[in-house]
Amino acid sequence: MRYHKYFIIILFIFNFSLSYAQEKDLNNKITKNLRCLICQGQSVYDSDSEFANSLKILVKKKLNDGLNEKQIYDYLKNKYGNWILYDPVFDKNTYFLWLLPILMFIVVGAIIFRIFILKKN
């Protein structure tokens, strides 16, 4: 019985740190996908500019307020435009960007198929 008590306490402590780690992971994931507008080429996570430091605090605050990842991205997109996100959204400006690799894969695949496989047969 005594061991049970210790076991529960240890389980509780481990759970606590796990949830904290998950929260921190999400925070890092979001700030890694945000572009710093001062030093453009670095993510907010990597940058140490005043803007990036403030944005890190803001992301933490928004997560504490209960906003999810998508809501935070939407919030920042509304303020600064799509450019702030490293992962471009799928819309009319980015159809070409997203579809070109797939299109090239199909076209080149078809050429390879024609040249190598059909010829062999």
């Binding site: 507008l37 001062i38 453009q40 005043e50 403030s54 605090i57 803001l58 303020k79 600064y80 450019w83």
Partner: protein
């Protein structure tokens, strides 16, 4: 026919790529958020500069007149350049200038105002820079012209003669 078609195809592809890259080289790759838009002002609570009193943004921009929110800091060099323009603008009756002191030291900020005079009717304090982000700003100085709870103009960087003339034209 087939032999002629392939080099032509590659030539067209090469020219297309060359054209895209050539055009791309001439475009600036430094991004600045758009400034020609109308947006509602954000709602926030913050400390009044130099005091412990808090104020809600809805109480600040409530009148039907023009407001200029200016983000400044004593450590910001361009803020010193734009200060005479703000002092000039503060003589106009139909606009109220609100300062947002950005990540600053209280003593240095007071010294700055003593040295250059204060054009501000009210100064808010942004201790960690998050209020500036609520406004969509990403540096100092930045200014927002507000009318009827809407941002009607955003000026990124220090005010100059041109932007001052434009503001004066709008508030006339």
């Amino acid at each position: 026919m087939r032999i002629k078609f392939i080099p032509l195809f590659f030539l067209i592809i090469f020219l297309a790529i060359f054209f895209v890259f050539y055009k791309g080289l001439q475009i600036s790759n430094i991004y600045t958020p758009k400034d020609n838009y109308e947006k509602n002002i954000p709602s926030f609570n913050t400390k009044i500069f130099g005091t412990d009193n808090k104020i809600n943004s809805e109480k600040i921009f409530k009148d039907e007149k023009y407001y200029l929110l200016n983000i400044w800091a004593s450590w910001c060099v361009p803020c010193r350049d734009e200060h005479p323009f703000l002092i000039n603008l503060s003589t106009y009756k139909n606009i109220e200038i609100i300062g947002l002191n950005y990540k600053d030291d209280n003593y240095n900020a007071q010294k700055f105002l003593k040295e250059f005079n204060s054009p501000y009717e009210l100064i808010l304090f942004d201790v960690d820079g998050t209020i500036a982000i609520e406004w969509g700003a990403y540096g100092v100085p930045e200014s927002f012209l507000i009318y009827n709870n809407k941002i009607i103009k955003k000026i990124i960087g220090p005010l100059d003669k041109n932007s001052l003339d434009e503001i004066k034209r709008i508030i006339k």
